[in-house]
Symmetry: C2
Subunit: 101 residues, 2 copies
């Protein structure tokens, strides 16, 4: 499995609107081929910075199937107006976290 | 809870040594005050790039208690020789991922 990490820089004055757009977009991700989960987390050091964490079954589920879908356009329509910089997207191979016994 | 995200740039010729150092260091994290889990994931686009994901109960568990501990020095001793750039560390407020029903 693959973890998409998208670093998003949001206009600090418009984070509530952005968060509403994200909540509206959650079903678009969950309906996408290969999507296992989605989460949005806010940066402690910079309040306008977020990372979007999406787990996909394969890299192509994100980079080919989702990015070329109408739902991707809807996602960008819901949140794109609040970006103050282009999203920075990288992918990682998912590893299960180790926890204390 | 707080997610520490540390971006690590590793000498591509020495990633196996780095991974062995990480595995040896896992107990140091798990024994640390407030540490809930630790994971290391490898970047798809750049094989020498990793992110370390550590979940802490509080920000200070990482930035004060762990960073000032002997175990932090041991962690850096196990892996620091393989870094080709200073680690970039940021923190996020943990959110539970949303999954399909």
């Amino acid at each position: 499995m693959i973890r998409e990490v998208a670093h998003l820089e949001i206009d600090p004055a418009r984070t509530e609107d952005f968060l509403a757009g994200y909540r509206a977009a959650i079903p678009l991700f969950l309906a996408a081929r290969g999507c296992r989960s989605v989460a949005l987390e806010r940066c402690v050091e910079q309040p306008g910075r977020f990372h979007l964490l999406v787990v996909w079954e394969t890299l192509e589920d994100h980079t080919v199937h989702f990015r070329n879908s109408e739902d991707f356009q809807k996602w960008r329509g819901l949140v794109g107006a609040y970006f103050v910089a282009p999203p920075q997207v990288i992918h990682f191979k998912v590893e299960e976290p180790t926890t204390p016994n």
